[in-house]
């Protein structure tokens, strides 16, 4: 019989030994060149199952490029885009896991997954991601400035394993997204019905409670060994993040920070509600940034190899997204359906950009300080290619990137380098991200 062998070391790695070092980890503090300038913000936008490359890549050169069918919804924001050619997810050809597990688990970590017992396709297995994700590395550097170091929102993320997580505080320490807009609202903005007195009382009782509870966890952790101790310490650090927030002022409505109307309740597990759920989650994230509740966000659209049927786009769409992505290139009908799905995702990104542009800040808009990063788990669904990834940036991160271009790397580059560029843009002075075996240094040619 096949047997899964666990060494203690595996379990440690599985759980993520270095998560403990988290609070100390902020290597490279952010440096704000100009204290007057608005803070920088970054949003990651994940979609699954690869794109349709022939309908994704622009035609033409760096400046005179012509947007493809899939990218057409972004036409209005053409001058704010950086379409990135010839960037591979090289790390995702290595380490444990099947093509989807590696593609999703490494989409923001750029290092091998841990060994583990998540069953992948045809016998592959993997654990959680093996390192901190780029959003969390940035959150660890700049997150102390805001009540929420980062905000993770999901749309029908239906997997609770490595295929359903992109954010990691460290190896083996995944952060799940909140799929329910109503719950996300309550978490970010509090109970809209509560009075100031109620909130103040809640804050005091929570402080007392969490003091007691944290003490309980710390004492218990001291009596435990190895992975049990680490598990409790991760719990303590999660409690600490709530406690930190209680020290702060909480949300102050006013100016561009407004109360959002969520409308009628919706069921966050129904695929036909996906457009409505996605819109609310994007609205919430934009407003969280307008209120300066966070400067780092992730939006995870479904999950690795998600097979939801997007019939809300038209009755003729009857195959699940993953199944469609697996169809051969000669199946023009299915390729067209898959193209429509990816085009729809570009529309969603365009909506998010427009929302951020609608929020005035300084002399311009909130979007001026942002960079949005569209990532995928694959380049192409039917062969699981993870080279030539369909990466798109939107926004200059406060003038850091020179946008309005289609930049094809002359020499094949990797997503490790893309993330070095992003961390540099966000003020982290570090020329490595993920496993540097898969290249280090920033992506050349992006800066303004």
């Amino acid at each position: 019989m096949n047997r899964i062998r666990h060494t203690r070391r595996d379990l440690l790695r599985y759980l993520g030994a270095s998560a403990l070092a988290l609070p100390l980890l902020s290597r490279g503090r952010p440096t704000f060149a100009n204290p007057e300038a608005p803070p920088k913000r970054i949003i990651f936008f994940y979609t699954p199952n690869g794109t349709v490359p022939v309908n994704f890549w622009p035609k033409g050169g760096e400046l005179d490029f012509e947007l493809s069918q899939i990218l057409t919804p972004l036409a209005e924001h053409r001058d704010d885009l950086l379409v990135l050619g010839n960037v591979d997810m090289e790390s995702a050809f290595n380490g444990p896991g099947d093509a989807h597990q590696k593609g999703t688990g490494q989409s923001l970590t750029a290092t091998e997954l841990l060994e583990g017992t998540f069953a992948g396709d045809a016998g592959e297995s993997a654990g959680w991601a093996g390192g901190v994700s780029i959003d969390q590395k940035i959150a660890q550097a700049i997150g102390q400035e805001t009540p929420f170091p980062s905000v993770e929102l999901g749309m029908l993320v239906g997997k609770s394993d490595v295929g359903g997580r992109i954010s990691y505080r460290g190896p083996g320490d995944p952060i799940p997204p909140e799929n329910d807009p109503a719950a996300a609202y309550a978490r970010l903005f509090g109970d809209p019905q509560a009075s100031l007195g109620d909130l103040e009382r809640q804050r005091r009782t929570r402080q007392r409670l969490l003091d007691q509870v944290s003490l309980d966890y710390r004492r218990l952790a001291d009596r435990m060994e190895d992975q049990d101790r680490e598990k409790l310490e991760i719990h303590v650090s999660s409690l600490a993040s709530i406690q930190d927030r209680l020290q702060g002022a909480g949300v102050q409505f006013g100016g561009e920070c407004k109360v959002l109307d969520l409308g009628a309740p919706l069921d966050p597990s129904r695929v036909e509600q996906l457009p409505a759920i996605g819109k609310l989650q994007m609205d919430l994230l934009a407003m969280a940034m307008a209120c300066d509740l966070t400067r780092v966000g992730t939006l995870m659209w479904t999950h690795s190899a998600a097979d939801y049927v997007y019939s809300f786009m038209g009755e003729e769409l009857r195959e699940g997204h993953h199944s469609l992505a697996h169809k051969g290139d000669e199946d023009t009908k299915m390729v067209e359906h898959n193209t429509r799905i990816n085009t729809w995702y570009a529309e969603q990104l365009a909506y998010l950009i427009s929302s951020l542009k609608a929020i005035p800040e300084g002399g311009g808009t909130l979007f001026d300080s942002c960079v949005l990063v569209w990532v995928n788990e694959q380049a192409k669904g039917n062969n699981h290619d993870r080279r030539q990834m369909p990466y798109v940036l939107a926004g200059s991160a406060g003038g850091y990137f020179n946008t309005g271009r289609y930049v094809v790397q002359p020499k094949t580059a990797t997503h490790n380098q893309l993330f070095v560029s992003l961390q540099n843009a966000m003020g982290i002075d570090d020329d490595q991200f993920g496993n540097p075996v898969y290249n280090s240094g920033e992506l050349p040619g992006l800066r303004a």
């Binding site: 017992t117 799940p176 709530i242 699940g320």
Partner: protein, 552 residues
């Protein structure tokens, strides 16, 4: 570093026990394997809240779903607590305390109308902390703990202007519900390990192991009383409790829960619901069938295991299933009962049908929207029923051909035999799955496919005790039911579910013991479950700091 520490501690302990004399019972226990700290699952949390307050609102349904490993949602290594989940615990605890605080206060007469925490109210509150804390933490509290939680109560009474006993009750409840002693199943053992560093569980820890295994719930009064009397210690005592717990209705839900996860039945109403079937090809398909398919399987297992005390053989080969009116129509059977919703046992043709293997839900789940999928069905048999891990496919898979309606599915899979890149693995998968070819994408019997004759012959390769070719699902069912590898796999699956972890080399003895008991019962599932409580893995744990065996 941990190792050198434990050696030091060990030598100290060995030395001191030598001075004590040797009246300590010899455990002669064997290695229990690791006992990782387990977090309550959402099901367990809901059950605990029900047991504490009679609250049926299932507050944990709003929590982040469990991280799944090995197919199960209760695997200790995968369950970590993110800031989001910690906040959900906080939120739920506050809401529960808010809902039930007033009723709790009703029972705390001395405090209800008190003006301060001093005097009678203080003494009563302390006693309440002691008894309620015991219910929440599933063990008696130490005096220090009582003092500490009484301080929380006391501070809670002063959160508003003036004294509020309700404030004390709610703060204490919401605090305890976030304590690690509630949210985790904390175990330290009796604190008297043997020379190998193996310790018995404390009576309360054993009460929890039993109740969480058989009920996914905290211990009931009877278990707590038995723990008080230290009567959860001998194998006989444990077996008697196991049988008692198995007789209760709550055990039925646990057995359903196990099968949902082992066989992936829950995917029928989640994954399959999102995919659906091609209604042009299968006009009979309706989403309303999905919950019925799942329920058919669950009710089948529950009824067979509890009402008929079934053996493994029955599960794999039973010529009957459980249907309600709509399912009977779907299968083309006469309506089984006057009550349209009631699931009733119906007899099936044993030449066609074979236990759970031929129920529509599983076969539809392991199929495509527009055709059967021998590959997925074969993979299901390999992974879940034989506990085998088929080798991986190439990283870049060649594009699959389109469905050709002039051929049978079998003919279309011929490429897997021809292409040397595919044949290695697919010879393990396809010939097993092809045995189900009489069942279409809806999991329903068909005589022909695309007007062509169906060939449901198959072959099982690479399993020591299943040799060679077979004809159709019923022969496959009989082969599987008679296979030692399948029996061992079922034992392993239950072990993973019961212990919240993968088996390790250290568990060989425990697993062998369960297998033996399973065999001598004639492979009855209830006896397998009882046998799980008799092993070293269930009864003992490695004492932290003292265990000196192989690092696992």
């Amino acid at each position: 570093m941990t190792k050198s520490l434990s050696i030091t501690l060990l030598s100290l302990l060995v030395a001191s026990s030598a001075c004590d004399g040797d009246d300590k019972p010899t455990l002669s226990s064997g290695d229990p394997g690791p006992s990782p700290l387990r977090r309550l699952t959402r099901v367990e949390y809901n059950n605990a809240i029900f047991q504490l307050f009679g609250d049926t609102t299932r507050p944990a349904d709003a929590f982040v779903p469990e991280e799944t490993a090995l197919g199960y949602d209760n695997q200790a290594a995968a369950l970590v607590v993110s800031p989001l989940l910690a906040e959900q615990f906080l939120d739920a605890a506050e809401k529960i305390a808010g809902r039930h605080g007033p009723a709790v206060l009703e029972g705390l007469g001395e405090c209800k109308d008190a003006a301060s925490i001093t005097g009678e109210c203080g003494a009563a509150a302390k006693e309440w902390v002691r008894s309620f804390g015991r219910d929440v933490f599933r063990r008696p509290l130490s005096d220090e703990e009582v003092d500490e939680w009484f301080m929380v109560f006391s501070d809670g009474t002063a959160m508003d202007d003036g004294f509020s006993a309700l404030g004390g009750v709610t703060l204490a409840i919401s605090g305890m519900l976030q304590s690690p002693h509630f949210l985790y199943r904390v175990e330290f053992g009796r604190g008297s390990p043997d020379a190998d560093g193996i310790d018995e569980l404390s009576p309360y820890e054993m009460a929890s192991r039993l109740s969480f295994l058989f009920w996914n719930s905290p211990p009931d009064r009877i278990l707590m009383d038995a723990a008080d009397a230290d009567q959860l210690r001998t194998p006989e005592q444990l077996a008697a409790q196991a049988r008692r717990l198995l007789r209760a209705p709550r055990a039925r839900e646990v057995v359903r829960n196990f099968h949902r996860q082992w066989l992936g039945l829950q995917k029928i109403t989640t994954v399959l619901a999102g995919i659906g079937k091609d209604v042009d090809l299968y006009p009979d398909y309706q989403p309303s069938l999905l919950p019925l398919w799942q329920k058919e399987a669950e009710v089948f297992f529950e009824s067979a295991i509890f009402d008929a005390d079934a053996s493994l053989d029955t599960l794999f080969t039973a010529p009957f299933t459980m249907v309600n009116k709509q399912l009977a129509e779907f299968y083309g059977l006469p309506a089984p009962s006057a009550d349209a919703d009631e699931f009733v046992k119906v007899e099936l043709d044993p030449k066609r049908y074979s236990g759970f293997l031929t129920q529509a839900g599983l076969l539809a789940l392991y199929a495509k929207p527009n055709r059967s999928s021998p590959v997925h069905r074969g993979k299901f048999v390999r992974e879940r029923l034989l506990c085998q891990v088929p080798p991986p496919p190439p990283d870049v898979v060649p594009e699959p051909p389109e469905v050709d309606i002039t051929k049978t599915t079998r003919e279309q899979l011929e490429q897997h035999k021809v292409d040397p890149q595919c044949s290695g693995c697919h010879q393990l998968l396809d010939p097993v799955g092809l045995g189900f070819e009489h069942f279409d994408a809806l999991g329903r019997w068909r005589d022909r496919e695309n007007g062509l004759e169906i060939d449901a012959s198959g072959e099982v390769l690479g399993v020591a005790d299943i040799v060679g070719p077979f004809e159709g699902a019923s022969e496959l069912g009989a082969l599987l039911a008679d296979s030692q590898q399948v029996r061992d796999c079922v034992t392993t699956q239950w072990f993973r579910f019961a212990h919240g972890r993968a088996e390790t080399d250290a568990d060989d003895e425990s697993l062998a013991q369960v297998r033996e008991a399973f065999a001598s019962s004639g492979y009855r599932i209830q006896e397998l479950l009882t046998a799980l409580t008799q092993t070293a893995a269930f009864r003992y744990r490695r004492a932290p700091g003292v265990w000196k065996g192989e690092e696992q």
